[in-house]
Each structure stands twice: as structure tokens, then as C-alpha cells.
Chain length 208, copies 4
């Protein structure tokens, strides 16, 4: 693979990582601002408890989104730890990923307001599907079509990570459709899916 057939590459990825860290840090931190402090009418302890209980859907959607976006960050961290160069295509795949992640605070606030409305659940899952797609496209490019990654990363590992990435896209896409049929099944997928990605590269752990 020569430099002539691919876009000009630049050594180092520290600024692309810093920018992504900034965007993702802001997203996870601002999620809490979608939970407005409630106006308390009944100031007795049971009254306040009841009011807080009413915020449960918002808090749960905040927590799910926080950890989902955090998982994107952990995988981003793992992904870029082996990328040695950048070029403008990589920058734009990354910006596409960040664009869809930036929409998450909106869909999180929306699902917090209407946790069982099918359209609302569907666009929540769709946004994560598209963010996952952005990541997967970036993976396709870096793993198979560029010379930006450490050559020592074996093809088997690249393919495993890439398939795993597609799995997330597929499941979020499924949840997005399922929302119109059985909204609770979609909610379960959306809440459980992050756990499958807690370990950036599960398989590697079991190898010597």
C-alpha cells in the first residue's frame, strides 16, 4: 500500500483524540441538564420522594445514555490506541460518528419525557444505530482500506472487531423497527445492549 493511492497521511492522532474526548465529555456531562430540577409543591418528605420518583424515567434514560456514550468512548479509546496516522478521510468518519453522538442528548430528553411512545423510542435507537454505523464505517476504512493502523494488528482481530461493530448497528436497527411492534422489547434491547460492549475487545481477554 503506497501513499500515492491513498490520501496524504499525517503522523499522530493526538488532536483527533483530544477533540473527540472533548465532544464526548461534553455529551455525557450535559445529559444531566435535561433533567430539570422539579418545582416542589408538597415539601413534606413523602411529597418530595413522590416527586423524585416521578423523575425515574428521566434518570434511567440519563443513566442508559451516559453508559452507552461512555462505551462509545471506551471503544474509541481502544480503537485509536492502535491508529498511528490520520488523514482527512479518518477525520470525517470520526466527525460523522461525533455528529450522531451529539444528537443523543436530544433523543435522551425525548425518551425521558415519553418512555413508551413508539416513534420516540424508535428515533432513540435509530440515533445510536447511526452512531454505530459511523464507527463501523470508520472501522472498515481503517482496518481494511488504509495504512493508518499499526501493521502488527492481525487481520483476524480486525475482522472480529468489525463484525462486533456491525452487530451493534444491527441490534440498534432492529430495536428501531421493533419499537413500532412491541415497544418494551425495543426498550430492553436499548438498555441491555451496552453491557455487551463493556469490554472493548472481549475476545482478546481470553487469549494468552
Amino acid at each position: 500500500m503506497t501513499q500515492r493511492t491513498t490520501p496524504q497521511r499525517v503522523e499522530g492522532t493526538s488532536r483527533i483524540e483530544a477533540f473527540s474526548d472533548g465532544v464526548i465529555a461534553i455529551i455525557v456531562t450535559l445529559l444531566i441538564f435535561e433533567i430539570r430540577v422539579p418545582a416542589l409543591t408538597d415539601l413534606s418528605n413523602p411529597g418530595v420522594f413522590t416527586t423524585l420518583l416521578g423523575l425515574a424515567p428521566k434518570f434511567i434514560s440519563f443513566a442508559v445514555s451516559f453508559f452507552t456514550v461512555a462505551i462509545f468512548w471506551v471503544n474509541h479509546h481502544h480503537f485509536f490506541s492502535r491508529v498511528t496516522h490520520s488523514n482527512w478521510k479518518l477525520l470525517w468518519y470520526n466527525n460523522l460518528l461525533l455528529f450522531w453522538l451529539a444528537v443523543v442528548p436530544f433523543t435522551t430528553a425525548f425518551i425521558g419525557d415519553h418512555p413508551t411512545q413508539p416513534v420516540v423510542v424508535s428515533i432513540y435507537a435509530l440515533t445510536l444505530c447511526l452512531a454505530g454505523l459511523g464507527f463501523t464505517l470508520m472501522g472498515s476504512y481503517v482496518f481494511f482500506k488504509s495504512n493508518l493502523m499499526l501493521e502488527s494488528v492481525p487481520m483476524s482481530e480486525r475482522q472480529r472487531e468489525w463484525r462486533r461493530s456491525w452487530l451493534g448497528v444491527g441490534l440498534y436497527g432492529l430495536a428501531s423497527l421493533l419499537a413500532f411492534v412491541w415497544v418494551y422489547a425495543a426498550l430492553i434491547i436499548v438498555a441491555v445492549l451496552p453491557f455487551l460492549y463493556v469490554v472493548p475487545n472481549l475476545m482478546r481477554e481470553t487469549e494468552p
Copy 2:
């Protein structure tokens, strides 16, 4: 301790530090946005003074939260200055800490509105208790169960820092319960506790 029995570790912690710096910087900066600019009805100087005086509970809760979260940052800074490697477990202990810190702007705005309501004070203290717990669990793992820290950090120092970390968890937990019995005692603990942690590692200062 070999790499086989522990998750795969990666050299360097710069991105985990950058991400944490970003999240914590956003938290402390956004706290001020919970103090809404008051609509002034009486534009005379005494009238404006009176309006500003009414913001005192909000300003005090802003200041306490700012310095409390800043202390978490200072201790995070000190903690990671001796961590040389990261793995996915460390990433998740850190994310758990950041999750609870991210809730602080919500509980700060809430306590600013209702500074003596027991439930409100209790969840303010509880959030900090849980953030402290996240830090302590991260400490337990890094100090005693992983090979991520400089081996030159003596066991006595690890144990001292770890006990000190538990002390904070305990006192915030106590404040969280005490709020229902004697709310002012809980408020005093919450306001005074940060000062005990101003120096990242008090003991070390007195040693040669």
C-alpha cells in the same frame, strides 16, 4: 502478578486523564448556570441587593459543589500521577466515578432551591457518597488488585490513601442519613468535609 490473570493492560493513561479532565471541567463550570439571573422588579440599589441576598443559598451551594468537585479532581490528579497503565476495568471504575459526579449539578441546583429539605439534602450527600465510593473502588482495584500502578508506591501509602477514601464515603453516607434526623448537622458535614481533603495526601507532607 502476570498479565494472564488480569485484563490486558495498555501503557499510558493520558486519554483517560484527558476525558476525566473534560468531564470534571464541564461539571464545575456548568454549576453556575443553575443560578438563573434574577428578574429585577425593584431597580434601586437596595432592591437589587435584597434580590442578590436571596440568591445566597444558591451561591453557597454552587461554591461548596465547585470546591468539592475540584477536590475530586485534585485527588484524581494525584491518584493518576502514579498510574502507568490502563485496562478496561480501570476505565469503568473511572466512568462510574464520573457518572456520579455528573449528577452533582442536578443535586446542587436542587439543594440551592430547598437548602433545608431533608430528602433534598440527603440525596445531595448520597450522590457525593456514591462518587466517593466509585473513587474508593477504583483505589481498591489499582492499589491492591492490579499491576497498573508504579511498584515504587509503598503499601503503607496505598493503605493510608485507601482508608482516607473510605472515611469520605462513610461521612457522606452519615450525612445522607443524618439529614432526616437533624438536617443542619448534615449540612455542616457536607460543607466542612471538603476541607479535610484539600491536601491530596496530607500524611506525606509531614514525612521527610
Copy 3:
């Protein structure tokens, strides 16, 4: 060029890059917060779809601004990758650029509310024109009047980038005026222009 005739320079640009990354990361992330979560009156699926469709102008202006500011970042990244030193003049040219970019969330929200109002469209384009001007002035200084850039960057490349930068200023300026005559033409320029700048330095790609 000697140091005596120019302001004292300092080696390295990492902090100016980090600060710019922070500001730009916050701008692109906060754009979404200008789209308020709609209050749903009709909770049927078609009702929610209709409400979401009504948000289309806001979503489109969010997307255009996100990618426009992202392009500024990509070009900033490319520009600074060859800057080796900084001085106070560079800091202030950069701050001027960041100032106008910081206004973009305001004009984005405004154009999202009134996508065909001539004055609103004009100030949207004007803000980007001024941000582009800030970048161009920084370029003039660094390319031609300072000793802050790698000497190996050839004069032909400097001039090409500088002309390209002026082109953006001119087209945004044109859009700003055109808004009063034919608002849709201005909107088209504003939406299409970013694509011309997707590649930081298009010409270089075609060279051997």
C-alpha cells in the same frame, strides 16, 4: 527574519491547540441544545411524526452548522500541524477566530426559528464570513509575516491555502448580501459551501 523584529516566540503550540479544541468541541456539541424537546400534545404515532417534521428546519440548521464548524476544526488541525512556535499575535488571531465561531450557536438557533427571514439568514452568513476572515488573517500572518511555521512549507502551498481561505470569506460575504435579494440563493451557498472545504488541502492530494 530575525527574532528582534517580530514578537517573542515560544516553542510549541499544544496549549493553543488544546484550548481551540475545547472551544470548538463545546460549540459543535451545544448546537443540539438549541433544539428544544417538543411538548407533545398528540401522542399517536402520526401526531409525533408531524411534530418531529416541524423540527426539520432546526435539525437542518443544526447539521449544517455542525459540519461547518467541524470543517473549521479540520482546517485548524491541518493549519497548526505545520506551526511550530507561537507568540501573542498568533494567540489573538486565534482568539478572534474562536470569538466568531462562538457566536454560531446563537445564529444557528435564530436561523432554525426563521429559516427564510432575510436579516436572520444574512447575520448567519455574516458570522461565518467573519470567522473565515479571522482564519484568513491568521493565515496571512503565519504564512507570510512570521517565523512560526515550518520553513519547509513551500510558498506555493501557502499562497494556495491563503487564496482558498479568502474564497470562503468572499462567498459567505456574498451570501450575507444576497440574503436581502434572494434568500434561497443565500441558503444554498451556506449549505453547499462546507463541502468545498471538506478536504483541508484539496490540491495537495493530486500532487505526487
Copy 4:
């Protein structure tokens, strides 16, 4: 100066700089969010112009605060470029500075609403006076009482920067008092003062 008599110091200041960059980047970027997008009742061009003209005090206070906080950043950048080590005292002087800077968005929004109300102008100036005081105290410590700075920085330069720092504190303090006597004089000081600090260290420029 030995390590025994001063707090334990740690090499490097990159995290303290990164955290400060984050906080300051967020402050300057969020200032724009205090200017709410106006609800337009008259959609004719002159009507929109008139509405925008009514935002002038808010835009001017945004611009003054943006550049004032940017100047703090530029001076922070210059200051830390010669600091080689950190200890917990430095962390806390820096946190004190950041605390008062974090209040600036509040006072900026307030002065944007009531640009000639004496109390409002006074607390705007007072906040900057206290931020300046935080910087000056940090300077006193680092310049004269610690071993954290490059020894090659001459005493004459330290004293010049320190005096200059006090000058800012004094003038903002003066503006804070003057607001009650002659509010326009206070406004002029607040608007003009930043320009005196545009160059981090004016004197050095004139030396060979």
C-alpha cells in the same frame, strides 16, 4: 530552597493546564448562551433589525467578557509556560482563580440585562477583581515563595509581572467602587482594561 520546607512537588503541569484550558474554554463558549434567541413578533426586515439592536447591550457584554476571559487564558498560558512543577498549593491557587472565572457567565448575563444598574456593574467588576486577585496570589506564591518555576526567569521579570497583576486587581476594584458614584466611568474601565493586558508581557517585547 529545599523540598523539606515546601509541599511535595511533582514534575510537570500538563494536567493542571489541561483542566484550566477546559474550564476557560467552556466559560468563553457558554457566554453566548446567555443571549437568548429573541422571539420575533414583527418579521419585516426593519422589525428584525430593531429587535437585534435591542440585543446590543447583551452582545457587547458578551464580547467584553469573552476577550477578558481570553486574556486571563493568554496570561495563564504565558505564566505556566515557565512553571515546571506543581504541588497542592499551586493546584488550589489555580482552582481559586477558576472559581471566580466560573462566576463570569452569571455576572455577564446580569450586566447584559441591566448595563447601567450600579450594583450589577459593581459585582461584574468585583468578580473580575477577585479572579485577578486569585491570579496575583498564585503569582506571589510561584514567583517568590516556591521552587516550581524555571530558575532562569529573572527576579526583575517576576516583579514586573507581579506588579502588573496587582494593577489589574486595583483597577477592577476601583471600578467596583466607582460604579456607585459614576456608573459610566466604571463601565469604561471594565471595557478598556482588557486591552492593557493583550500582550502577556509587554515589557519583554521591547527588550533585545
